[in-house]
């Protein structure tokens, strides 16, 4: 962040002149229809090198295994509070973040272990945070829902549903102010997409031509409320239409599809320096959080079984097996490797010291301590 603070600053009008807006409008008319057509194009034309596919696979497996252990930490009392795993949604973050340029700001909600690992944060530090240890990424003060990394331009990790969306637009505002060409990647859920502040944010992003991608991770459920019970139009990307923001819905279960779409969209946003709204469809295999066990309250076993066939890890494994990138044995090795890595991280984190009592007063302000004592 300090680096960003020191960045060069150019004078540039933020609010576009009326002429410019009207031109923009003209070129974007019919965009929706074009996108619908594009979406219907058959097949996946990606020709990723084998190594890359293996990387995506390993990344997804790392998240899956890490989060299994985070649940173990919760059950065994090493973690507390609210803890949400990304199980079933790994394709979204791996596909998308594989296309992000270094230095691009990223911000997300509380289901955030996946982004952290993909961005390169040390699993030990992340697990330490989940266990409330002094060496946790947020020094034990944030917990599972509040992971941050200035080094990786990862701005959290937020637990108020929808609350971080305006902040995401603000990250892009700074890009515009400075005259940079970063793209901000703003992740939020389908439940969050009902929060009013999102609309305030979309309006500003579009009005001021800010380079931000609104990434709606639609797993068709918000805690225990199914999409059809919380959204008047279940195609939630349509909500960007009235704000003159290009929008579309894509599939999030196939990491290669996500990657292909992400490459196109991010490139477009970097070029146009305009916002974009993408709705990525996925499925949350686990309960809402570690404490939510009764999934039967909102869906059937069949539904889960059906969705299980589209498990993003499974899909990629099938694809790699079909295309000969890996054989069964290779896959097993990956899982085994990762399990060992993560078990080590788990143990290491569990052995770390808790924060010292005096730390409770640190970081309230940048320079002073708050009034102490009860």
């Amino acid at each position: 962040m300090e680096a960003a603070q020191a960045g060069a600053v150019e004078r540039k009008q933020i609010t576009p002149s009326k002429e410019k807006k009207e031109h923009a409008l003209a070129t974007r008319s019919g965009s929706k229809r074009r996108q619908e057509a594009a979406r219907r194009k058959p097949g996946n034309s990606l020709m990723e090198p084998a190594e890359t596919l293996r990387d995506y696979h390993r990344l997804m497996v790392r998240i899956r295994v890490f989060e299994g252990l985070s649940m173990r930490a919760f059950r065994s009392g090493l973690a507390g509070g609210y803890l949400h795993v990304y199980n079933g949604m790994e394709g979204t973050a791996v596909g998308w973040l594989s296309c992000v340029r270094e230095g691009d700001p990223i911000i997300a909600a509380y289901r955030d272990h996946g982004y952290a690992l993909i961005l390169g944060m040390d699993p030990v530090d992340v697990m330490a945070e989940i266990m409330g240890r002094a060496r946790g990424v947020s020094r034990g003060k944030g917990g599972s829902m509040h992971l941050y990394s200035a080094e990786h331009s990862f701005y959290g990790g937020w637990a108020i549903v929808g609350g971080h969306t305006a902040m995401g637009v603000g990250l892009a505002f700074a890009t515009k102010y400075r005259g940079g060409d970063e793209v901000t990647h703003l992740f939020f859920g389908d439940g969050a997409a009902n929060a009013g502040v999102l609309y305030e944010s979309m309006n500003m992003a579009s009005l001021w031509d800010l380079p931000v991608v609104f990434i709606l991770e639609n797993n068709e459920i918000a805690m225990g409320t199914r999409l059809e019970y919380h959204a008047a139009d279940t195609h939630m990307h349509n909500r960007a239409e009235g704000f003159n923001i290009e929008h579309e819905r894509i599939d999030g279960m196939n990491v290669l599809h996500v990657r292909k779409d992400a490459l196109r969209i991010i490139d477009h946003v970097r070029k146009t320096q305009r916002p974009y709204f993408v709705e990525i469809m996925s499925f949350r295999f686990e309960g809402h959080g570690a404490a939510d066990h009764d999934r039967s309250l909102y869906r059937s076993k069949e539904e889960e079984k059906e969705a299980g066939k589209r498990d993003p890890i499974l899909l990629l494994e099938q694809y790699m097996l079909e295309t000969g990138v890996m054989i069964e044995g290779d896959i097993k090795v990956v899982w085994k490797d990762v399990e060992q890595e993560m078990e080590r991280a788990y143990k290491e984190a569990a052995d770390m010291p808790k924060p010292e009592p005096h730390e409770v007063y640190e970081n309230v302000y940048t320079d002073i301590l708050p009034e102490e004592g009860h």
């Binding site: 034990g140 637990a159 108020i160 409770v360």
Partner: protein, 343 residues
């Protein structure tokens, strides 16, 4: 009957919904999902989607919609999944719900209850651990209660639902499992029966707890320990320990923050001549300051020592359990302050 604080709340909801067709519940995940803290368990099955309304995650919208419904004669009971989220609906609550009766010169009133768990639980971190009752007690037009026992939860909620002014009803998540005696003719088992099948007459001899009345939980002569919600229990625990040391502590459970029962508080302090006020919210600028300020204003000549205050540490709630425990006022913190005040 002996039931939990959670069941006492549900029982009050059931009886009031059965008594008055205009009472309905609205909130996030309260219906099909049975409520995040299971307070509304089975109510969706019992009353249906019309009277147990699952909403999108839009706290300002929920409060506003409930208010509009109240203006047409309904009596909404809003569940805030946690009271921390009421911060998002602050404008709706302060500027609209609390003020319409006044701004309309009394033409309209807003009979609604906003209830939900408030205060820290277990490592919910900085954004989910707020004590909001002091904020709301500061706002004219809102009544604010914070029950500590199942009986009070039951009795105060019934009073709240029948009140024609808006009421903030805060529950401490750590109290949900606490059991206690609740006087009522209606059996809790009703919850699973279809509407109308309960004994209607049972609600005639029903039991309510009035607003604006503090409760003396334990009489004493040497010091007054004053708290509400979970802190009332901390006061009881501390009083017990003081008793062992030969100090007779009186425990005042404030129960109703607004209106506040100052006279009961003052009478206690005038008797004991010493007082400690305890509250879970951040100490600096928290509601305990009002109680302390009031006591010294009104009992100055009776005080043998300054009124002590014990509050939460002035920091956002940290996640790590050891740090979190440092923040929440404990029996030991209260004892330390009480001993200081006792001299």
């Amino acid at each position: 009957m002996t039931i939990t604080y959670r069941d006492a709340i549900r029982q009050a909801l059931i009886e009031e919904m059965d008594r008055d067709e205009n009472v309905f519940l609205i909130g996030e995940d309260i219906g099909r999902y049975q409520g995040t803290f299971r307070v509304t368990q089975n109510l969706y099955e019992k009353y249906g989607a019309r009277r147990v309304v699952d909403t999108p995650i839009t706290e300002p919208g929920i409060v506003g919609v409930a208010m509009g419904a109240a203006l047409r004669g309904l009596r909404p009971v809003v569940e805030m999944m946690t009271m921390s989220f009421s911060i998002l609906a602050m404008d709706q609550i302060i500027n609209h719900v609390a003020k319409m009766h006044y701004m309309s010169g009394g033409q309209f009133h807003v009979p609604m209850v906003i209830r939900g768990p408030g205060g820290a639980a277990h490592q919910l971190s900085a954004q989910h651990s707020h004590s909001m009752e002091g904020w709301f007690a500061h706002v004219p037009g809102l009544k604010v209660v914070a029950p500590s026992t199942p009986a009070d939860a039951y009795g105060l909620l019934k009073t709240a639902i029948r009140d024609d002014s808006p009421v903030i009803f805060t529950e401490n998540p750590s109290l949900y499992a606490v059991k206690g005696e609740v006087p009522s003719g209606v059996d809790y088992a009703d919850a699973t029966l279809p509407p109308g099948s309960g004994d209607e007459s049972a609600s005639s001899d029903d039991f309510t707890v009035p607003f604006g009345k503090a409760a003396i939980r334990k009489e004493g002569t040497d010091i007054s320990l004053i708290g509400y919600s979970r802190m009332a229990h901390v006061c009881m625990d501390a009083a017990e320990e003081l008793e062992n040391e030969g100090v007779s502590a009186e425990v005042v459970d404030v129960r109703s923050l607004s209106p506040l029962d100052s006279s009961t508080i003052f009478a206690s302090v005038k008797k004991t001549n010493r007082a400690v006020v305890i509250y879970e919210d951040w100490r600096f600028g928290g509601f305990g300051a009002e109680i302390a300020a009031k006591i010294q204003e009104n009992c100055f000549d009776f005080l043998d020592a300054p009124v002590g205050r014990v509050g939460g540490l002035n920091v956002p709630m940290p996640y790590a359990r050891n740090l979190e425990l440092l923040c929440i006022p404990s029996k030991d913190d209260l004892l330390a302050k009480a001993r200081e005040v006792l001299g």
